[in-house]
């Protein structure tokens, strides 16, 4: 916070926001830099990130839980050497949590301390940078270094917050009545994530590029698992991905996500499993399927349920 704008209408950035150089030269470079940050991007993800950077539009990422929405933002920050500023949305989040807030307590103290001052002088003091609590949105806009602004789980927030975001994301500027309009010194790369629990407003969607992240194809997922758990045997990773893929085809209450595949890989590694045989699958199914009914269904569909029949139960290694 180098600026000290004390007058009423001095914007933080004196010269508006000039066209800044894009971070990525090509889609291939996006793939490369994200991979460098430990994120294997699909064609769709890489293209959309490239466009978000090139066209300066926010990126709205939707998809089931655990496919790497938040991770994408992290990787973008790491890949572009930017600071990641995160706004976690929740039910009831409002302007004072998302944008800025005046520090009332300090202001009151300041007023009490300056008894002899005239009101004009006091007011100028009280509504200055010193008492402004900057929340993520304002922080991201005022940041002069490259920034990735992650607005996580926007669908959890109320509709009013979207209205607030419209101003911020449309022009990358914020109006604080007492200070004036603050324009972005440098446009942040904005990523919004949503689990689609609520339909977002048309106006917000229109301003964003839309990316639906879904479960990746088998070979990409295998690469992801190997990247995350490099100690795991390649063949084991391949069969793990196959089983997870088959499970996603079933109608389950909660399909296993990438995060769960990785967890499963870690579990297998910890157990020292050499191959993915039936007993291992049966014993560790709880890592990837979190509902009892799902597990039952998976066992019967993959014909692993012989453990339930008494004849085989004796020979089973499940504890």
């Amino acid at each position: 916070m180098t600026q000290s704008s004390t007058s009423q209408t001095v914007p933080t950035s004196p010269s508006g926001s000039p066209e800044q150089a894009p971070q990525f030269a090509s889609v291939d470079e996006v793939v490369e830099r994200l991979a460098g940050a430990g994120y294997l991007a699909s064609n769709a993800a890489a293209t959309t990130v490239f466009l978000a950077d090139r066209l300066g539009k926010p990126l709205l990422v939707e998809g089931p839980a655990g496919v790497g929405k938040t991770e994408l933002a992290r990787a973008m920050a790491a890949g572009t050497d930017s600071e990641l500023i995160r706004l976690q949305c929740y039910e009831g989040i409002d302007e004072s949590r998302a944008l800025y807030e005046w520090n009332h307590a300090s202001q009151l103290l300041r007023i009490t301390a300056a008894k002899d001052e005239s009101w004009d002088a006091t007011r100028e003091h009280v509504f200055s940078e010193e008492f402004l609590l900057s929340r993520p949105l304002l922080t991201a806009i005022r940041n002069e270094d490259p920034t990735v602004l992650l607005i996580d789980e926007i669908d959890k927030a109320d509709v009013e917050v979207e209205g607030l975001l419209l101003e911020v994301l449309g022009d990358f500027q914020v109006t604080v009545p007492e200070l004036g309009t603050i324009t972005a010194a440098r446009r942040p790369l904005v990523v919004l994530t949503s689990n689609a629990t609520r339909e977002l407003s048309e106006a917000l969607k229109r301003r964003c590029l839309f990316l639906h992240l879904d479960f990746p194809p088998a070979d990409l997922e295998r690469d992801i698992v190997t990247l995350r758990v490099p100690e795991l045997d390649g063949e084991l990773a391949a069969s793990l991905v196959r089983v997870v893929g088959a499970l996603r085809e079933l109608e389950l209450r909660k399909s296993p996500s990438i995060a769960e595949s990785v967890d499963w890989a870690r579990t297998l590694l910890a157990l020292g499993a050499e191959t993915l045989d039936e007993d291992t699958v049966r014993a560790t199914l709880g890592v990837i399927l979190k509902y009892e009914s799902d597990q039952r269904k998976a066992l019967s569909e993959l014909r692993l349920d012989r453990v339930l029949s008494p004849a085989d139960a004796a020979g089973s290694s499940v504890s």
Binding site: V27, L55, R198, H212, D219, A246, L276, V281, K297, L302
Partner: protein, 489 residues
């Protein structure tokens, strides 16, 4: 393509999307053009993603988008080049397909799909050209797929053919015949730790998925070529499947129902949030003094923003009365699953089904949450719904409900009746319906038929509609709108 041609194509593309219910405004079209320019036209998949990112607003629109994209930005024009090692008979094609599927080579599978269409998919003589007429009649049009296929293979097919049929190509290639062999091959090729039944089951699933993807490629290829032949706009209008939430319940296919079932969980979450938001907005009235004082500490003890007392959510009881006969069963099944997924929004949900008499199915539906596949069949076989036959009789159904379960209804109950109101000639029994309406807080009737056909034929819908409010509910979109509107706070 020149800049002008690109712009024109994009505008046509946007218009086709609009016709399929994807709202693409001028702003989006401009965005799409900017995105296309940034990405370039060299890589088709990237172009696809770039356009998708600019015009789409939800994952449900993606299949429609892909279908339209393939029509307007085809991968290739005309027939594919036939290489030397290309197969010539269905058996050879199947062999190649087997190899490609085992190797998991999607590009090769697509190429084979194109070959399949090349060899066996062409049909009919061109309607317009005189030259085509002369040469084409010998082949007997659609009746002789083999002959027409030959015609497609040699020479310039566009001049003679009137279309490409995926159905014809598939019935010639018969990819289903591969399934057993493919399973064995996959099992051997991808040997891993799994053995016995489990590996079989896994391989079987993968074989089925592989064949399904080939079939889909064949369909897409046929659509693309027919589009070239007949003009893109016409094909786009008919050949691209509609979005799941716009498919009418009464004529959905088995796959579309499977697709719908997948939509139940996400939809229920959306609806639950919407209902909760509505309850929250209803929070006004008495001030919560304790929380107001606590919040006032932040403003130096001055209560600037009062906090309202949160109203206890009055959770209503819901009673569903579903017609399980014939074409209405699919609609009833979907709605049952949806309300089951929403059950935490209600203090009690009870479900009843009828064909010619009514029986309670609450337990069956609850079990159906874990196994939604054949819910409708199970309900019909396990519950006592009919005395004879499977045609609905609203007279008996309403009467048995009123007699047997009249005490279910009370001043806090909302009743949803799902059915088309087709009584098959029986009297409508309005008295029983009136009795239900008198006891319950609300009765709403959801009818999966188009409003214009209410009261036609044996439908008594218009008479029922005079007793209780009736709503047309043909698609998921209409249903979810109705659910939020009708359900009480």
């Amino acid at each position: 393509m020149t800049a002008h041609a690109v712009a024109g194509r994009l505008v046509e593309f946007a218009r086709a999307l609009r016709e399929h219910g994807i709202a693409v405004g001028t702003g989006e079209t401009v965005d799409a053009a900017a995105a296309a320019e940034a990405v370039g036209f060299a890589d088709r998949e990237r172009l696809r993603e770039a356009l998708a990112a600019s015009v789409l607003r939800g994952a449900a629109q993606r299949p429609v988008f892909d279908g339209v994209f393939d029509l307007y930005f085809p991968a290739a024009h005309g027939t594919s080049e036939t290489a030397a090692d290309e197969p010539e008979t269905p058996a050879q094609l199947r062999d190649r397909l087997l190899d490609a599927l085992v190797a998991g080579d999607d590009a090769r599978v697509r190429a084979l799909a194109a070959t399949g269409i090349d060899l066996f998919g062409g049909y009919g003589a061109a309607a317009g050209g005189g030259q085509g007429q002369g040469q084409g009649n010998g082949h007997g049009g659609e009746g002789a797929p083999g002959g027409a296929g030959q015609a497609g293979g040699n020479g310039s097919p566009a001049a003679r053919l009137s279309g490409w049929s995926a159905y014809q190509a598939l019935s010639e290639v018969r990819p289903q015949a591969l399934r057993a062999r493919l399973r064995t091959a996959i099992r051997e090729a991808r040997a891993d730790g799994l053995d016995g039944d489990a590996a079989d089951a896994l391989a079987d699933r993968e074989a089925a998925a592989g064949i399904a993807s080939f079939t889909e490629h064949v369909r897409a290829e046929a659509r693309r070529r027919t589009a070239e032949l007949r003009g893109r706009d016409r094909i786009a209008r008919h050949a691209v499947a509609p979005q799941t939430d716009l498919v009418a319940f009464t004529n959905a296919s088995a796959e579309q129902f499977a697709e719908m079932r997948r939509a139940v969980q996400p939809l229920s979450r959306t609806l639950a949030t919407r209902l909760a938001a509505r309850r929250r907005r209803a929070t006004r009235g008495r001030i919560d003094l304790r929380r107001t004082v606590r919040r006032s500490l932040a403003t130096g003890g001055v209560p600037m923003r009062p906090v309202m007392r949160r109203r206890r959510p009055g959770r209503p009881e819901l009673v569903l009365l579903c017609d399980m006969s014939g074409s209405v069963a699919g609609f009833a099944q979907f709605t049952l699953l949806l309300t089951q997924a929403l059950s935490d929004q209600f203090s009690k949900v009870r479900s009843f089904a009828f064909v010619s008499r009514t029986d309670e199915i609450t337990d069956l539906v609850r079990a159906g949450r874990d196994e939604p596949e054949n819910l409708a069949e199970r309900i019909v076989t396990e519950a006592n719904l009919t005395t004879i036959g499977m045609s609905s009789d609203y007279d008996g159904a309403l009467q048995t409900f009123a007699d047997g379960w009249g005490d279910v209804l009370g001043p806090r109950t909302s009743v949803l009746i799902l059915g088309d109101g087709r009584t098959n000639g029986a009297p409508p029994n309005l008295a029983a319906l009136r009795e239900l309406a008198g006891r319950a807080r609300h009765v709403h009737w959801l009818n999966p038929e188009r409003e214009s056909s209410w009261g036609t034929g044996d439908s008594e819908a218009h008479r029922y509609a005079r007793e209780v409010p009736m709503f047309e509910c043909r698609t998921i979109r209409q249903l979810s709108r109705l659910v939020t509107r009708l359900l009480p706070d």
